[in-house]
C-alpha cells in the first residue's frame, strides 16, 4: 500500500530524459533511441548486464561441477519430420538474428534480441540432437561465452585509458557498436542455449 501511495505521489515532471536522449542521438552512432541508450549512453549498464548473464552460466557449470555441457549429452530421438524441419529452419533463424542485429541501428532490435533468436536456434538444434553444445570442448565453450563480456571489458578499459569510461562518439562509434554487438550476440545466444540445455534433467535423473 505504501508503494501504491508512492506511485500516486510521483512528481508531475513529465520530461524524463527523453529530451536529452533525443538531442544526443546524432553523436551516438546509431539512429534509434533505445539502442543509443543501451549501447552508447548507458553502455556501462549493458556491459555489466552481459557480465551477469555470464555469471549465471558459470554458476550453472559450477553447480554441476563440470567444465562443459557434456553432462547433458543424451540421445535424442526426433522423428524424420522434426529433423527435416530443424535442418531447414535453424539457418533461417540465424539469418533473422543477424537481420535483427543490423535492424537495431535504426529500429527496435539489437544485440539481445538477436542473441535470444540465436539461442532459439541453438535450443532447437539441441532438442533434435543436431546441436554441438553437448559435444563442444569445455575450453571452446567457455571462450565463446566469455567473448562478448571480454570484448566489452577491453573496450571499457580502452575508453577509460583514453579519457571517459565507455564514451565513444560519431560515425566510428556506429561501426564499433555493431562489432561489439556481434560478439555479444554470439555470447548471449550461447549463454541462453547453454542455460537451457544445462538445466534439463539429465539422463540419469528423474524427469530425464
Amino acid at each position: 500500500m505504501g508503494a501504491g501511495l508512492a506511485v500516486l505521489d510521483l512528481p508531475e515532471d513529465r520530461r524524463g530524459l527523453a529530451g536529452e536522449a533525443r538531442a544526443a542521438l546524432p553523436e551516438s552512432g546509431v539512429d534509434h533511441g533505445v539502442t543509443a541508450v543501451l549501447l552508447s549512453f548507458r553502455a556501462f549498464d549493458t556491459w555489466l548486464e552481459v557480465g551477469v548473464l555470464l555469471v549465471a552460466v558459470v554458476a550453472l557449470l559450477v553447480l554441476q561441477r563440470s567444465g562443459d555441457l557434456s553432462f547433458r549429452l543424451r540421445p535424442a530421438d526426433p522423428g524424420a519430420v522434426l529433423l527435416g524441419y530443424a535442418r531447414l529452419v535453424a539457418p533461417l533463424i540465424v539469418l533473422v538474428a543477424a537481420y535483427l542485429l543490423w535492424l537495431g541501428t535504426h529500429a527496435p532490435g539489437g544485440a539481445f534480441q538477436a542473441g535470444a533468436m540465436g539461442a532459439a536456434a541453438g535450443i532447437l538444434l539441441a532438442l533434435t540432437g543436431l546441436g554441438v553444445l553437448g559435444r563442444m570442448p569445455g575450453a571452446l565453450l567457455r571462450a565463446l561465452l566469455a567473448l562478448g563480456f571480454a570484448l566489452f571489458t577491453l573496450l571499457a578499459a580502452a575508453t577509460l585509458a583514453a579519457g571517459t569510461l565507455l564514451a565513444y562518439r560519431g560515425d566510428a562509434a556506429g561501426a564499433l557498436i555493431l562489432f561489439l554487438e556481434a560478439a555479444v550476440v554470439l555470447s548471449v545466444a550461447l549463454a541462453l542455449a547453454a542455460v537451457f540445455v544445462g538445466a534439463r534433467p539429465g539422463p540419469r535423473e528423474p524427469g530425464g
Partner: protein
C-alpha cells in the same frame, strides 16, 4: 485518474501479489515464478513511466533500455535459481522448503 496512474497502480498490485507469493509458497518453483511476477510488475511501471514522459509521441527511451536490461538480468537470475532448485531436489529429495508449523 490518468492512464499512467492506472498502469502504475496495477503494477504495484502485481508486485504485491508476487511478493506475497514469494513469501507464502513453500515450493521452490512457485517462489521462482513469484520472483518473475515481481520483476514483470517493475517492468510495467518503468514502461508506464516511459509512456508518460513521451516526447512528440515517442516514448522515453531511457526506461525502455532499463527494462531490456532488467529482462536479461531476470532471465539470468531465474536460470540460476532453477539450477539451485534442481540441486536442492537432487540433494534433499524434494523441491520444497521445510514447512513450519503455524504458531498462530
Amino acid at each position: 485518474m490518468s492512464s499512467f496512474h492506472l498502469h502504475a497502480l496495477a503494477a504495484t498490485l502485481i508486485f504485491a501479489i508476487g511478493l506475497h507469493g514469494l513469501i507464502a509458497h513453500v515450493h521452490l518453483l512457485r517462489k521462482v515464478i513469484a520472483l518473475n511476477v515481481m520483476s514483470v510488475a517493475v517492468f510495467m511501471l518503468l514502461l508506464a513511466i516511459a509512456r508518460r514522459d513521451a516526447l512528440d509521441g515517442s516514448p522515453d527511451p531511457v526506461p525502455q533500455a532499463m527494462v531490456l536490461t532488467g529482462i536479461v538480468v531476470a532471465v539470468s537470475v531465474t536460470a540460476f535459481a532453477l539450477a539451485l532448485a534442481h540441486r536442492i531436489q537432487a540433494r534433499t529429495g524434494e523441491a520444497r522448503l521445510p514447512a513450519r508449523k503455524r504458531r498462530w
